[in-house]
């Protein structure tokens, strides 16, 4: 057995490039879009790591690359000590059983012609965890765990509401008996009253089945609620990572500060006195990222150095890392 104190997942300097501009428009030559730009992270066993950032920041690509659903251009992912790019197809498939994903829209990830029971049984059959004749009681048990009645096994996806479909999506991920689940905007499409049900379910399952989650979402309040640690991404890079209480009470990166101040609080009195940091402009295109620190054209605290030099992710306090020149050692303002 592996050392239980060793991280379950180690991501080392991961890079993902997409080639954009197909043949039709390729006159000017192929252009590379760097979606993930040198990300290093660890996920400890049993923890939930929240990954936040705005559309196009690379958080979903990172999640899929961790599962090797997208092959990285550079860098490495190690799962339980084994480098995924060293594995052949069969070994990768065996390891994939232990890594599952729950998507935002469960409807588009369920086959409309398969009963939801069959959909949940499929991973069991593929991985030899159940046979064609004996999957039913195992699926019924999973349905019970995620809060669906056994009568629902023979129904079809269109008969389910959004929240119920997400329960099916979770049951399907659990069917393979995984250690690790990527939740990619898994509760984002749900109404708040239902969202709270699913968040509570995910939390219960984590304790009960000793799961590790990479929880990708754009809703910071949800991420704060469910995560142990939180990483913030901007334009393909991690700009800050810390224990959640640290990150939310003492954000260091100007982008994290702006992001937190933009999240509305459902309380009139709290909202009325809040100071908001409005970042001018929009997230630049990853096709032509700014020089130096990618935030510098929008950053209220930008200095001359930010235009030229990409800040590295450095420790700043216990378990708190930030990629910002404000906190680099040669900046006198930081101490």
């Amino acid at each position: 057995m592996t050392d239980p104190s060793a991280p379950l997942i180690e991501i080392d300097n991961l890079e993902v490039d997409f080639e954009v501009g197909g043949r039709l428009f390729a006159r000017a030559g192929q252009t590379k879009l760097r979606a993930v730009d040198g990300v290093s992270l660890e996920l400890r066993r049993g923890e939930t790591l929240g990954l936040v950032g705005e559309s196009g920041c690379g958080k979903s690509t990172l999640g899929r690359t961790v599962l090797h659903l997208i092959k990285p251009t550079g860098g490495q992912v190690r799962f339980d000590g084994r480098a995924l790019d060293d594995l052949d197809e069969i070994e990768l498939r065996q390891l994939r059983r232990r890594m599952q994903i729950v998507f935002q829209d469960p409807f588009s990830s369920l086959n409309p012609r398969m009963s939801v029971g069959e959909a949940v049984a499929e991973p069991m059959l593929i991985h030899g965890l159940a046979g064609k004749d004996d999957w039913r009681p195992k699926v019924a048990e999973l349905f019970d765990i995620v809060g669906l009645g056994p009568a629902m096994i023979d129904r079809y996806p269109h008969e389910f509401s959004g929240g119920q479909r997400q329960r099916v999506g979770i049951a399907r991920a659990l069917a393979a008996q995984p250690d690790f689940i990527v939740c990619d905007e898994a509760v984002s499409a749900l109404d708040v009253s239902i969202q709270a049900q699913i968040i509570n379910l995910l939390e219960e399952l984590r304790t009960r089945l000793n799961l590790t989650y990479l929880f990708i979402a754009h809703d910071l309040a949800v991420v704060r609620h469910i995560s142990d640690r939180v990483a913030v991404m901007y334009l393909g890079r991690i700009v800050e990572i810390a224990a959640k209480s640290d990150l939310f009470e003492n954000p260091l990166h100007p982008y994290t500060e702006a992001l937190l101040s933009a999240v509305p609080i459902p309380d009139r009195n709290a909202e009325i006195n809040r100071q908001r940091i409005l970042l001018p402009g929009e997230v630049p295109s990853p096709l032509s990222p700014p020089s130096g620190c990618a935030l510098h054209p929008r950053c209220p605290k930008a200095m001359a150095v930010c235009r030229d030099l990409k800040p590295a992710l450095r420790p700043h306090g216990e378990g708190h890392h930030v990629a910002c020149h404000l906190y680099s050692e040669d900046n006198p303002g930081s101490f």
Binding site: E54, V192, N200, H225
Partner: protein, 330 residues
Amino acid sequence: MTAAAQAPPLLQVRDLAVEFGGDGGVVKAVNGVSFDLHRGEIVALVGESGCGKSVTALALLRLVADPPGRITAGSIHFDGEDLLQIPLPLLRDIRGDRIAMIFQEAMNSLNPVHRIGRQIAEPLSLHRAMPMRDALAKAVDLLRSVRIPEALRRSRDYPHQFSGGMQQRAMIAMGMGCEPDIIIADEPTTALDVTIQAQLLELLQQQVVEKQTSILLITHNLGIVARYADRVNVMYAGRIVEQAKAEDIYDRPRHPYTLGLLQSVPRIDQAIGDKLTPIEGQPPDPINPPPGCPFRPRCRFAVTRCDEDIPPLRRLTDSQSIACWVDVDD
């Protein structure tokens, strides 16, 4: 806003009902909705998917597709006239001119084959008989006012050349063009990232302060409501279940559904570790709603009476009403 509350409301909606008919049965999507909108105030219609908030917004300008939809009852008084009764040509003069609408998906509301500037200029030349040249110049000013950089050059772009946030800003510019009395904003920032969301909502609020525009803000986001709305209508299953000033809704929710909604949202300023309290169950099947109060099957406070009688909206204070036999504050 307090002064405005004394004057008669700019928009007065009474007992509005909208049905959708199909082979599967009739859905009462909006079922007796009444509310007021005064000059220079932001009023929110808040609720979850399928509660009827967007259908209400569409019905205000008679934009509900018929068939399958029908406005079956009610009145919508705007500036002395009932929008449900006036002839369609008169209503067309009001749409986009005195009452503008901003939708969630700007990409679907902008015409992909026309330049942005021209689309913003169109209502100006239509409603204000402005020569196209002047209207185009005004369109550039409007784009500048919603902070589109290089507005003159960008006004010649097509919608696909704009990012999602810029498209939504162009929609707001179009909505503001004729300086409407009312802007109906249906989930205006829902598809956008929080930092862009904040930029746009500040723009809309500025419009209220500077031009005394009134905004009907339709959203599912209780945080946005807390920051921007003066008064709030909470909808559930086609009805308004609570109506109050924004500060009262959050300080002292009185309807079990409002309380349930507030308890189920995680808050960024809340003590870490509190478990969320979801509302158990799901919204009722709109084709076969339960007898009695539609919230009854999910309600923690229900009493026997809730099984039979649908509670009407009743006044608790001058500014707070609930449609509930119980008052969770008791």
